[in-house]
């Protein structure tokens, strides 16, 4: 029992059950204890540890620790803590409980040793994160939350279908590496996981929902859903070639939309797709170095992306808007937020001495070492777009761009600054001491990011991106718009779907009902007194409610027969 309660995911979920009984004043502080406890467990549990229990007729491996699951467990616990600090001022119990369940189920997925445990936590993750969207309580968030939930229920369904098929084929429920073989079971599982990893064209839920989630909810969401899917991809589908090209395409797709979008949180949401593309590409390449790169990049990404979402969330909190057309000129009013945001922005852009540099260059180099030069150049193109959209466009149009901005700026709670500072510190720390991260990576490969070659490569690209941005920056601002994406197919199709599956079916049932009633009416009328139409020599009309002596005689005769038979039987 103690062992079951000491599973990181379970710690957080049990925490979520305890939280409602804590007085409101202490609740946010108690929240933080659970991620810390989970972090402690992750650090102190040796690799190779396994805990299993019986469930129905299955033996479930609820927790299995190896280097890969441990590094994800560490970063998930850290982020849950940092995001908890960021949300410390929140008094909304629903959000707090669901955030804990969400983080807990992401940890549950990470340490799951069998597919059944995995799918249970997987679905729990979908449901609890939906709450963080709905908690914004706007019309937009209601719709986006519903679309998000439907998408994830579909993805979870595909994954579950794949798992059942896989079990029927192989008799194994273990979470293990599958060799590249496009059987139906494998494809179902792959597509199910790809929904959560936001692989194009299954990515629209992300860009739709994240900008509409609550300020603090988006910080949690930026970390868990896509990265737990990346973890499963690394574990189950490494070296699946298709992923290389989907990943590289995602990396570019995301940044192009990030350049188009005019809402700061939407820019970041699209940019997650691009960043996950780097990881998915690395997983597709599948060499030890590429998988290390994908893992390291997931680790770094969670840190700086949550920092960026915290920064933009702070702007939204302070000004009440996230549209770049209303922002600009905020530097004097929010200088610290700008500074902390820029740490995240320089990290994500892979500038040396920040943590993006140590992981992004690893993934790109892995593509180079594997002689996939096409993929390598695509990823470099995506890095240009990253610096352009998140590192230059977003901060320029938020903090500069205008001379003055008379928008009213609310004071930020101190805990927001603390959370951003912790994340910023981590970004710089790992950027300066990459070996503190490399030591936890799943494979032992030597890699040194601080070479002159990488420095020259990164700095030349970044400097010329800056030059390009400066020349063309006027093209990047503008009014808020909706950028159509493949969600058009289901959002615009909604009326058509409703017509086919609701209106037409309703109409069909209506017709059938009318028909049945008409037939019943017709038969009642005809058989009330069949003599009216059996006997052609009468002109009596048959009325349904009219009195008919002939029928009475028949009925009485039948009744009498019954009575006579009954009496004979008794005698």
């Amino acid at each position: 029992m103690i062992e079951f309660l000491a599973i990181p995911g379970v710690i957080l979920i049990v925490g979520a059950l305890i939280l409602p009984f804590i007085p409101e004043k202490l609740r946010s502080s108690v929240f933080l204890l659970f991620p810390l406890a989970s972090l402690y467990v992750v650090f102190t549990t040796a690799t190779g540890y396994s805990f299993s229990m019986d469930f129905l007729s299955y033996r479930l491996h609820v927790m299995e620790v190896d280097k890969l699951s441990r590094v994800f467990g560490i970063i998930f616990s850290i982020t849950a803590f940092v995001a908890g600090v960021y949300a410390h001022h929140i008094k909304d119990l629903g959000q707090q409980v669901n955030a804990l369940v969400y983080a807990g189920s992401a940890l549950g997925v990470t340490f799951a040793g069998d597919l059944l445990t995995l799918i249970i936590f997987w679905e729990l993750m979908a449901v609890s994160s939906t709450w963080l969207i709905w908690a914004r309580r706007t019309k937009e968030s209601d719709g986006a939350g519903m679309r998000y939930l439907i998408y994830h229920v579909l993805g979870g369904g595909l994954l579950l279908g794949g798992i059942i098929w896989h079990y029927a084929d192989t008799g194994s429920l273990a979470v293990e590496t599958l060799s590249q073989n496009y059987t139906i079971a494998n494809v179902l599982m792959l597509v199910g996981v790809c929904v959560n990893a936001a692989v194009i064209p299954l990515h629209t839920w992300l860009a739709d929902a994240y900008p509409k989630a609550t300020i603090t909810g988006a910080v949690f969401m930026s970390a868990f859903t896509t990265k737990s899917a990346v973890y499963v991809l690394i574990r189950v589908f490494p070296g699946w070639e298709l992923l290389t090209w989907f990943g590289a395409a995602m990396a570019i797709y995301g940044v192009v939309y990030a350049v188009i979008c005019k809402d700061i949180r939407e820019i970041l949401a699209y940019h997650i797709i691009s960043q996950v593309g780097f990881m998915v590409c690395g997983i597709g390449i599948g060499t030890e170095m590429a998988l290390n790169g994908a893992t390291a990049h997931a680790y770094s990404h969670i840190l700086y992306k949550s920092l960026l979402f915290m920064g933009t969330g702070a702007v939204l909190y302070a000004t009440g808007t996230s549209k770049i057309v209303n922002l600009g000129g905020l530097f004097k009013k929010m200088p610290y937020t700008f500074g902390l945001y820029m740490v995240g922005a320089l990290s994500i852009s892979g500038i040396p001495l920040f943590n993006g540099y140590i992981s992004k260059s690893m993934t790109i180099s892995a593509a180079g070492y594997a002689h996939m030069e096409g993929a390598q150049l695509m990823l470099l193109l995506a890095s240009v777009g990253t610096f352009l959209s998140v590192g230059l466009k977003l901060p320029w149009f938020t903090w500069f761009g205008k001379k003055e901005n008379d928008i009213e700026v609310r004071k930020l709670p101190v805990n927001m600054y603390i959370a951003m500072s912790i994340a910023a510190f981590a970004c710089i720390f790992y950027g300066l001491f990459p070996n503190t991260l490399y030591a936890y990576l799943p494979f032992d490969t030597k890699y040194d990011p601080f070479t002159i070659y990488h420095f020259v490569e990164t700095m030349q690209i970044s400097a010329m991106t800056l030059a390009g941005f400066w020349l063309l920056k006027k093209k990047l601002g503008g009014e808020l718009i909706i950028a159509l994406d493949v969600d058009w197919f289901y959002r615009k199709a909604a009326p058509a779907t409703r017509l086919v599956f609701v209106t037409w079916i309703d109409n069909f049932y209506d017709r059938v009902e009318d028909g049945v009633l008409a037939i019943a009416g017709f038969l009642t009328e005809k058989f009330k007194n069949p003599m009216t139409w059996l006997n052609p020599f009468t002109d009596r009309k048959n009325k349904a409610d009219g009195y008919s002596p002939a029928m009475d005689v028949v009925m009485s005769f039948i009744m009498l027969t019954f009575v006579v038979i009954a009496i004979l039987y008794i005698l």
Partner: protein, 72 residues
């Protein structure tokens, strides 16, 4: 603050330093086909930047941009 001056100085300084490093310390000229092109990453970075901006602008104008109430 004179942004123009600051930006162009930064760009020039970085490019000069990295070009200096490229021609003095770097000996990797053959691991990829592009390694023998001098200042390749600077040229590539600049072209990519322009390409992304113009491509995004083209997409936005002709295909994807809609009024904010499009889905209402």
């Amino acid at each position: 603050m004179n942004w123009n001056k600051a930006i162009w100085t930064t760009v020039t300084v970085i490019i000069l330093i990295t070009l200096g490093l490229e021609f003095t310390y770097l000996s990797d000229y053959d691991s990829h086909w592009w390694n023998h092109i001098p200042a390749f990453y600077a040229i590539y970075g600049f072209l990519c930047c322009l390409a992304i901006i113009y491509f995004a602008k083209f997409l936005a104008k002709n295909i994807v941009n809609r009024d904010i109430h499009y889905y209402d």
